[in-house]
Symmetry: C2
Subunit: 419 residues, 2 copies
């Protein structure tokens, strides 16, 4: 027991938490496990198994191909739900489709085609690798220049860095609203305005933001966005991603992968591709229905909580991590590797330690699942829908115990299959 912040104070925070009872809406069958990796794979909503079971037995098993007239609208229907409950977009602006990487390729390709006189793409040098890789491929294919914006590993991209880089040759800027590593939350509205003034499109990756912070796509003037649904949105492993295209841009932007789901009259099957007049033109092929459907019951929980409440609790959980880390872990060489101001952070907090990989493994053995990120980061991702304040307290307590007893020194240091 710590005297400086005794465990009962965390329990009091839970007692006062308006979202506390939503924890029962998730399958949690191991009370010893503290799961702080909802930013990697969100927990299973309690309603999902039965929902999927019905879909499999009735929709697939009994109704068979006759279910397709219903299924075919799900990408749009779930997109509209995401728009309403997580993304602050209008109906018809969000659709669930493909993977985040494929969606990034489609929308980045569309933006580049729409800005043909310019030859530079800007990306945060510290952005998630797949975003950089996708853009490297597009740049090479089209003979464009990909410029990486220097970015602080702990604080994220600074607005001045972007401002200085936004010259008249920039066609597209790709940024994560919340940094996957340090959790820095960018100012969408300010950046959208800057880019618009400079004549560039901004394509947002919302993977670590969606379901954690209220993303106000419409109000912030966002043009394009993609993101995954298996983190804070609890859609399940590899659940298909979403994409957002501002309504006013849909009729003019065209993406490079011309599949039948993007065709104007999909079932007339005309000889020549003509893109659908609306958001559908950003679709490609048949979506994976089971993986997509699982998002539906997950969104029920988010809708009930309300994204603003989720955000409030997320900030408080983060503040507790920071406070306890300052007090307990600093003596053992840990440093905060995220913005200190909770308004400038998403839901996860990163700590830096030279032995982060081995500490992460020791932590897993101690029943706390967080995750490790190269080179020396330990990420703790509380998910406000099901993480308790006492979970954070216990996790930090176990972390201190590991550091104190140097448990991590018995762990392997090889980097195989870290996810």
């Amino acid at each position: 027991m710590r005297d400086d912040f005794p465990r009962y104070l965390a329990k009091e925070l839970d007692a006062a938490d308006p979202l506390a009872e939503l924890r029962d809406r998730f399958v949690i069958n191991d009370d010893n496990l503290i799961y702080l990796d909802g930013n990697s794979l969100g927990r299973l909503p309690a309603a999902t198994p039965e929902f999927l079971s019905r879909l499999v037995r009735d929709g697939w098993g009994s109704d068979l191909v006759r279910s397709w007239p219903t299924w075919i609208d799900w990408g749009r229907r779930l997109g509209d739900r995401l728009a309403a409950h997580a993304l602050g977009a209008r109906p018809g602006e969000v659709v669930v489709s493909d993977s985040t990487s494929v969606n990034l390729y489609k929308l980045a390709g569309a933006a580049l085609d729409a800005n043909p006189g310019r030859s530079t793409i800007l990306v945060d040098a510290e952005d998630f690798p797949t975003d950089r890789y996708i853009l490297q491929g597009l740049a090479r294919q089209r003979g464009l220049t990909l410029r990486t914006l220097p970015s602080d590993l702990d604080q994220g991209l600074q607005l001045d860095t972007l401002r200085a880089a936004l010259d008249g040759d920039v066609a597209l800027v790709v940024l994560s609203a919340v940094s996957y590593r340090c959790g820095a939350l960018l100012d969408l509205a300010a950046i959208n305005a800057l880019a618009r003034q400079a004549g560039a499109y901004v394509l947002w990756d919302l993977s670590h933001a969606a379901g954690a912070v209220p993303v106000r796509l419409t109000d912030s003037g966002a043009d394009l966005a993609v993101g995954c649904t298996y983190k804070y949105l609890n859609g399940g492993p590899g659940a298909p991603a979403f994409l957002y295209v501002r309504r006013e841009l849909q009729a003019t932007l065209r993406q490079p992968i011309w599949g039948w789901f993007g065709q104007r009259d999909q079932f007339q099957m005309p000889a020549d591709y003509e893109p659908a007049p609306d958001l559908d033109r950003f679709l490609v092929g048949t979506p994976p229905i089971l993986s997509m459907a699982a998002l539906d019951p997950a969104l029920d929980v988010l809708a009930e909580a309300g994204i603003d409440q989720v955000r409030q609790k997320g900030q408080r959980l983060g503040e507790l991590i920071v406070e306890l880390a300052d007090a307990w872990l600093t003596p053992y060489g840990f440093e905060l590797a995220s913005p200190r101001d909770p308004r400038r952070r998403g839901s996860h907090v990163s700590l830096r330690h030279p032995e982060a990989l081995r500490i992460s493994r020791a932590l897993t053995e101690a029943g706390v699942v967080g995750d490790y990120r190269v080179p020396d980061r330990l990420r703790l991702g509380p998910a406000p829908l099901y993480t308790r304040f006492v979970d954070v307290w216990d996790a930090l307590d176990r972390l201190r115990d590991i550091a104190e007893r140097r448990v991590h020194e018995r762990m392997p240091a090889d980097l195989s299959r870290v996810t």
Copy 2:
């Protein structure tokens, strides 16, 4: 009862069918429904609900992110199973990933990059629309020419047509092994040899072949292939597709969508994309695990049957359709719209009739699910793993009854949401 081919003869064929008992390995809870649309969405294997339920509750619900070291290999593991049981490919040549359309884009892009001096793509004019659309997009993006090969609506592409078109400017030929409309089965080995001689790649779409005919990719000298898993492979609605790249080509071909699943050291996350040395380079992003996993129990049934047995039964089912259509339906204006020789056909048979759309609807109301294809085709797709000879007999009997009593004249003729 028909005197020329009485129903008991169909029952005798079922009694002698070595695959007959496999029907019990599927969920079939409506004995009045005759399902001849396995070429659109295969039936639900009986083992799948419990398999998925375990995956959801244990893999996702309990093990959470710790399941990823297992899940991450599934695309390759299921690919190897497909290679062994359906596609005649070697281990490490097939992987499950994305949709058929996205895979087509990736592999067509890879082939075009590898054949830079040439500027023509050939495609069957009557191929499934999404294949044509994808290629139209690639051709426009790269300033190439897409030439459509004239093809017989009922007999499929003729080898001489292809031979005449294969000049020194052809970089890539895209063909369906089994035509989605008429079911014509092409000679893969002959076409691969022709194209190789002419210096062109062939990219096969196996959507209507996989699980219906033994596709011998390795022996036929195939370079590239894609296909879906929700038809004869029974992977479920929108189950992710597969792609095949001949082992000898993997180290040199590169595809255009550079995602982190295609990166050499995926979890080291280096700054610059470097493609994996093997088949993994054709992957992009996180796969939809639930939709992907459902393929596993489905392949158990196929493996038990053996693709050669499936093919034999498929041919006999098709012959029965042709024989009964000739005898019973010709008087009502139906014509066979598929090759008559069962060796030149996949598992489905198409019939032509000016009122095909309305007849298809009347047939559905009569408890027979087949499907309609523009402009005037009725497709009947028996699936040898669960379709009985008596099902075919009953379906054709009901079809004759509809034609005789002109039931279809009471059906709507609008083409909304036909799948």
